[in-house]
């Protein structure tokens, strides 16, 4: 009985009460709602920081296994990852995250790595587009044509030769594209509002994983 109360009712009450304050702080100008909502925002950040500890434990579990089993293919990478984690952690503690050593590590290793992955997007996009943009059917043809228009719109020389095409593309981007995007946003907004209400009121308990 106690387990059911702990696992089912207490989370529902917490989510319901806190959700009520958060949602109604948006349209209502009542101090207790706005203050509670701001405070809850800080709690979320705090809880997320605690969760990071769980993530680090998981990294040690996942990468500790290959090292302990001496898995030939994986252990050097796992060891490098855990060693990097420990080094960055220690430097962060000793030098603080704004210190020169930490900044150097970030700029030279982490920042460079992130930029490399960002740059890879260009190649991936190109390979994906060359695969996808084939006029196999009517929809594919329309998509190909629309893409051609948008690409040509970005190149100034086409604007000099064919100003009408440029105007048409601008209209296409400003009217149908914006219309569809707003439609998407509205659908998602309505869905989120209703789903949030059903979850907060306890009418939908699917987020709790299982029914008792």
């Amino acid at each position: 009985m106690m387990s059911v109360v702990l696992r089912k009712y207490i989370p529902l009450v917490i989510v319901g009460v806190l959700g009520f304050f958060t949602i109604f702080s948006f349209p209502l100008d009542i101090k207790v709602f706005t203050d509670t909502s701001t405070q809850l925002g800080s709690w979320v950040m705090l809880l997320a920081s605690f969760a990071l500890g769980i993530g680090v434990i998981n990294l040690f579990i996942v990468h500790g296994h290959p090292i302990m089993k001496k898995d030939k293919e994986k252990w050097p990478y796992s060891a490098a990852l855990l060693l990097s984690l420990i080094i960055v952690f220690l430097i962060g503690i000793v030098d603080s995250v704004t210190g020169p050593s930490y900044k150097f590590l970030y700029d030279v290793i982490i920042g460079a790595g992130l930029l490399t992955l960002t740059a890879l997007r260009g190649f991936f996009m190109f390979s994906a587009f060359t695969r996808a943009y084939k006029a196999r059917n009517l929809e594919g043809g329309v998509m190909l044509l629309a893409t051609l228009f948008v690409m040509m719109y970005q190149v100034p020389i086409f604007d000099s030769f064919l100003p009408q095409m440029s105007e048409f593309t601008k209209w296409m981007l400003d009217v149908p594209f914006v219309g569809v995007t707003r439609g998407f946003a509205m659908i998602a907004g309505i869905a989120m509002t209703i789903m949030a209400f059903k979850m907060l009121s306890g009418m939908d308990k699917s987020w709790m994983g299982r029914e008792e």
């Binding site: 500890g53 996808a132 509205m186 987020w207």
Partner: protein, 260 residues
């Protein structure tokens, strides 16, 4: 206006109406009303992907996104029932499932879902703690982890759900390069959605994602959520058309009402 933030009175009334509709339609569902959900090939293909991986003797990868476990987040809320469904099917077939997450708070939730799926499927030994992996908080760090994992573990089926940002194309193209059968879905409107259409064998966006949980569980409560969304959409569409007609006739009543 009194206790309301300026310009949000109508919003408050609309929210109250939506909540009222959700409550009454929920009660209607409890009394036995059911709604028809059209066939969703992407959800039906989830089992096909698991079957493919089982036949090849290779694992399935499930990405639960790179966003925090925010309340009312449709991507996350729908990724969980899909993960549960995939995990149960994998456990029944004894097919390895590697679940990766990009946020530590989501890791704890996904780990619990996979663990419970192993128990409910009658195969508790199938669960392995190291198969639910937290790959890093940054989206590109997460992407690098997945890009390394797909060839290393010889993944056969790649499921990409939850919210993804710019790194989505990296995950999908890595899957394509490794000949993975791919299914992806995103509930929020994003510029990255186009990549799902290009790189996935089956994909679902927006409403399909939001209806996914109901489609899988066939639970009347969740079906009523989808039905409420449709009724509210029809009502708002009627309001928009009326507003457009009235404003054309130079009557700005609805415009002023919305701005209250």
């Amino acid at each position: 206006m009194f206790i309301f933030v300026d310009g949000r009175l109508t919003l408050f009334v609309l929210m109250a109406c939506m909540y009222g509709a959700a409550f009454f339609i929920g009660q209607w569902a409890k009394r036995g009303k059911t709604w028809y959900l059209r066939k969703m090939p992407a959800i039906d293909a989830l089992v096909e992907g698991i079957g493919r991986a089982t036949e090849l003797g290779r694992p399935v990868h499930f990405s639960a996104g790179v966003d925090r476990a925010g309340p009312g987040d449709p991507d996350r809320a729908q990724a969980y029932p899909i993960l549960k469904f995939v995990a149960e099917n994998c456990a029944q077939r004894d097919c390895r499932l590697i679940t990766t997450v990009g946020k530590a708070d989501v890791y704890a939730i996904c780990d619990q879902i996979v663990k419970e799926a192993a128990v409910t499927s009658g195969n508790p030994d199938w669960y392995k703690a190291e198969d639910v992996q937290f790959l890093g908080e940054d989206q590109f760090v997460y992407a690098a982890g997945v890009m390394g994992l797909l060839p290393q573990e010889k993944v056969a089926t790649n499921y990409i759900f939850g919210y993804h940002r710019g790194s989505l194309i990296n995950l999908l193209e890595a899957g394509k390069m490794n000949d993975c059968f791919q299914i992806g879905g995103m509930a929020r409107q994003s510029g990255e959605m186009a990549f799902l259409a290009i790189c996935c064998d089956y994909w679902m966006v927006l409403e399909e994602m939001i209806a996914a949980g109901a489609y899988i569980s066939k639970d009347p409560g969740q079906l009523s959520t989808v039905a409420t969304q449709d009724y509210v959409k029809f009502a708002l569409l009627a309001l928009m058309i009326t507003g457009a007609l009235l404003i054309t006739a130079n009557i700005d009543f609805i415009k002023r009402l919305v701005l209250l």
